[in-house]
Symmetry: C2
Subunit: 411 residues, 2 copies
Amino acid sequence: MDFFRVKTTEEMTDIIDQHVESIALTGTVPTDKASGRVLAMDVTATEDVPGFSRSTVDGYAVQAQDTHGASETMPAFLHYAGAVEMGKTPNQALTADQAVYVPTGAMLPEGADAVVMIEDIEKNDDLVQVLKPVRHHENVIVRGEDTEKGALVLEKGTVLRPQESGALAALGISRIEAVKRPVIGYLSSGDEIVPYSRETLSEGEIRDVNGVTIPALIQEWGCEVRIAPIAKDDRADFQEKAEALFEDCDMVVMSGGSSVGVKDYTTDVITSLGDKEPGLLVHGVSVKPGKPTILSVSSKKPILGLPGHPASAMVIFHMFGKQIIDRLMGKKRVDRHTTVARVSQNIPSSPGRTDYIRVTLHTGTPYPDAEPVLGKSGLISTLIKSDGLLEIPERKEGVLKGDLVKVHYFI
Amino acid sequence: MDFFRVKTTEEMTDIIDQHVESIALTGTVPTDKASGRVLAMDVTATEDVPGFSRSTVDGYAVQAQDTHGASETMPAFLHYAGAVEMGKTPNQALTADQAVYVPTGAMLPEGADAVVMIEDIEKNDDLVQVLKPVRHHENVIVRGEDTEKGALVLEKGTVLRPQESGALAALGISRIEAVKRPVIGYLSSGDEIVPYSRETLSEGEIRDVNGVTIPALIQEWGCEVRIAPIAKDDRADFQEKAEALFEDCDMVVMSGGSSVGVKDYTTDVITSLGDKEPGLLVHGVSVKPGKPTILSVSSKKPILGLPGHPASAMVIFHMFGKQIIDRLMGKKRVDRHTTVARVSQNIPSSPGRTDYIRVTLHTGTPYPDAEPVLGKSGLISTLIKSDGLLEIPERKEGVLKGDLVKVHYFI
């Protein structure tokens, strides 16, 4: 099966981009509950924001040209022509040589084009002395300066952060069409795996750590999760549980089943699901840890087989599961926080393989220092000590102490 | 009031650390729902993890010394002594010159101290030929290697990420004591401010953008939010709404009320709440944008007054609100993702003031490029284009094109 030679991480990434599509279902979501959701529509401004020219300071609305050349020794003299109230329309237009008091945020009177800050004014009865000149539009946000009516404000596929929700609120858009939250199914398997809540273990048993960490990541990334009961190392049991999840979910994630006999039927079960188009795409990635990763797409649903070791499973799920989920959610790009760091010691690596090294980040200027966390890939304790994953690209034979490297943050 | 000279960002940070304490209430949370919560207890391992020595590969358990010197041309010859089943205790101990098949994750027989990978074995009936030597403990995770019984696994104040929840699961800890989610009250004020869902505005009105963005951040950071109805520019109305929130919440955040008359009573109202110990701490921070920031702590509850401009309010809430909330949650350190970036153009700044410049990050090697987003601080559109905030420390007169700078990611 030459097709199933191990893939590079770049090939894996390309395969995900090519074969994983956004789920088609969308729903209406209130703007104030939309943070983290992905827009399923373009948003165009139906009005100018702000809808009127506003002062950004407490001061006096003027015509800027009346203040040119003004100074403390040679003030410009203007006539006081009243005050604007917050949230109200000014009573009259401003003409040359007039000044009208405006508080921060209030509407500028017609005819005014700038505001002199109150600390640059001296006022005696109806005489307003301007001690400092202002430019056209100084201390003013003009109508439509934030968003002009008719402009494309947010594109389909935009992830709504608090500020995007704020921009929708500014336009009075109180409901939006968002991509439905994907439902991700999770299945652990293995005769030795028992529910994590089991207090006393028999010899040879271990608790289901992946059944906690992977669902936690799924939820952290904005999806719903369905967790199946742990499958035994038995093809019929595994098939039944995998099929039920596949039926109910937009994606299925599995872990475990890495011993030889089990490996064989795991792939068989994965490839038996759905319409088998395009079917099995990846069977092994040249990455450490996490080489025995499987990816299939069938009936538009990705099926991701993770390694059984908890730390390997988390690394793979961070690096590729996130990308798959972001695609399912219809995000325009993968959302990932990284930093540049300086590595604290030499780390060897094999060329032809991407290494993800767990690191602790220590504050430094200008770069943080990235110190590798030592320990075998199966150890969950190594992940507790880690702030992120240092990436050694496959073309490199390792990194040297002092090299600048890219670190992917954990959440 | 010399005490209320404008504070530097460093002073602001120190004041928060000194005066904001973790809320005392804790609650019991299931481990699989604990992601994002803060531990209110130290967690000590009550057993070894793993509870038995396990193989990390499919292969043959051996005594490592029996394989020394083995090679493809000079294999070590061992006697096949059966196979271990997943999740079961091996039937018998392994003695010198024996090899027992173990799948990945299975328990090592007593007497074995290493595993030879299956690809380094040739087996004929009961003869096992080892083609490659293994070291003591190679391909094995020994009992207690992840966590030893009695060890401090997680300290009080640790934020539970998925991996920390996984470590708890590995120990069979299904419920933990966590700091209660803080309840944060939010209040917008201003005669010109109307609910964001108002479809048609009268002249001079604007929609409540901060009432969407700030509560979204509060929830993003793991707190509950209570939103009060918008207060008018009227002292009695403002006092009543602030008092009600203060009563119900662990912290109160306000925005607006920045015009001169209103400013006066905003501070009066803030300082009237609770036991007034220590009371008003900050009245102005030397930061751009966001100078008119107010911080008070009373009855152990922080009260934060944000500037009214939506973008300024978000910047201040990101930089200081997050720190206050992290302290309330009992986090050992402020959780913040930053990166080093190379600035794409000169940006001037005034010494004695910290500038937070909105930037777009562009992929680059080894550093991303940080390009400033231009526009007045009141414009929410500037935040939509931004990936984060570039910090120009107060001792600097700006940054030059090509300088390495620190960028704080938005979520």
